[in-house]
């Protein structure tokens, strides 16, 4: 079953800020049994699904999702996704709780959390901590890597 993006946005509080957040949300939820049916590959922001990106674009075209462009204080653009249709899809309590925990983190922390999971369980990198710092550099600083690992622990997805 392909997951409904509007229902995910609704479950996430009505809006999802940024493509990275949306992608990593679905990736992490898939590891908890969401079964989105989307395939993920590693790109420069971590695990990414072009099928999910295509599904979101289609939701925008058929007005099931609105994508509004905003700009950061330095002018860098990003999207805010809101649901225009309100499915009554109820997610299992485990998924709903995970969405809540994920939404408390920044998108950069989600990128790190999804990348840790990918490195440890897909690429099977023994020293995934070192590899994370090597790939993500400054993004891992200021407690962000620790926060990502803490999120994975809360979701019971953390590698040992």
């Amino acid at each position: 079953m392909t997951v409904s993006v509007p229902s995910l946005i609704s479950a996430a509080g009505g809006e999802i800020v940024g493509k990275v957040r949306l992608q990593k949300l679905v990736y992490l939820l898939d590891q908890l049994g969401l079964q989105s049916d989307f395939s993920f590959s590693y790109y420069h922001y971590g695990p990414y699904s072009d099928q999910l990106a295509e599904a979101v674009e289609e939701d925008i075209i058929f007005r099931r999702v609105n994508a509004e462009t905003r700009r950061r204080s330095d002018g860098v653009p990003f999207f805010i996704f809101t649901a225009l249709t309100h499915d009554s899809v109820g997610f299992p309590p485990k998924i709903a709780a995970a969405i809540e925990a994920i939404q408390l983190r920044t998108a950069t922390v989600l990128e790190l959390a999804a990348t840790i999971h990918w490195l440890a369980f897909v690429e099977k990198v023994d020293n995934w901590r070192q590899e994370l710092i090597r790939r993500k550099g400054v993004k891992t600083e200021q407690g962000r890597a620790e926060d990502a690992l803490q999120l994975l622990r809360e979701l019971e997805l953390a590698p040992t």
Partner: protein
Amino acid sequence: MIVFEDDLDQAVWKLLNTPEIQRLRRIKQLGVSEFIFPSATHTRFAHSIGVFHNARQLVRLFRREFDRGNIDGAYDPHRAKISVLAALLHDVGHGPFSHAFEEARKSIAGARSGGSGKINIRKHESFSAEIIKNRESEIPSILSEVNVSTEEVAELIEKDIPSDMYHAVVSSSFDADRLDYLQRDRYMTGVGAGAIDLPWLLDNVRVAQIDFADPGDDGSPAYNYSFCLSHKAREAGEDFLLARYRLFTNVYFHKATRGFEQLVAAFFRNVAVGAEAGQPIAGLDADDSLHRFFQNDGESLKNYLALDDAVVWNSIHAVARSGAGTAQAIARMLLARKRLYCLDIQNCFPDDPEMQRRLKHALDNQFKGTLNGTVFRDTAKLSIYGEIGGDDSRAQKRLMVQLANGRLKEITGFSNSVIAQSNTERLFERYYFVSESDYKSAKETVEKIEQH
């Protein structure tokens, strides 16, 4: 003319003469683009020398910026040396037929993933890093002659985001790679669009702390030094991005080129299916390099380095001559430059995304049994920052303009920007057909959708 002078240049000269870099002479920079632009026969080897040349120029900019007091601290000649060497070696891990080879490997990995939802392939940057660190090659000893470790060079090629300003030479909005291919690909294809004012751009490149955090995380920045552009060159910067955009629309995404890439990818897939099953491929020797690479556990460095365009063409010739079935038909089409029939979704319903989606679904349904066999679907997305292959444009590739007050602003964020519209995604979706009857059937579907 590129002159090799000091110790670093002499090391570069030695590196150019290693078998690993000489292999790039046999890999064309633009793959099958020469089928459409006959003079675009330039190689990854020539490109790599150009990137090295640009990198030397860019590290001189750092000296200039330090001398002017625009950057805190002191110039680091060791880091500068690493970035120049990484620039030279950045493409050493490129496979044959570049884009088609990686796309084919991705689809092969997807088929082999057993529905896990995770497709894990090694990208060419990872092969580049392994080649640089390979103790069986001469590369490590040449690097050590100039007191540089293989790890230091490989790290710059593999990282997702820059580690410091010297890394910007290899990966940034003004990296040495981009400065070469924008000029080289335009010149060699002969396309008129896409001129850039390089001297003015280089004179106005600055170094500043740029926020690499996700833009939705306002208030939680992740700063690092990278290139930006003085406000005096904002227009030249717009032209620079537009030049790249035009190369994508006119050259890299040319519908005939993408069709030939689909054919090459289909040839790879056909070989891979047989190799994975442990079966001989009709027309290919048992020790054919391509066959060996696609076998289970065949993705070793040795097998990868054995591949180049010439080797693949040899396999194509062999299958065309003595092969069978679909693989032979594809090989013969490639040798005869026989184009696939192409249906362009965006051209069928210009500026009507709803109708484009309906057509796409109808075609997917109509050809679901033959997709990736005799019918191929090609999808690419483009923004002003180039092809979108991932969540977003890479943070370091964004072009930031330094205003007169020293603050930074992303170049499409100006209210009077002439390229702001191009920051939205433009889709390129094409269906390619081996048989004319399938193509005609698809055209009938277009008419039916139009009538409803």
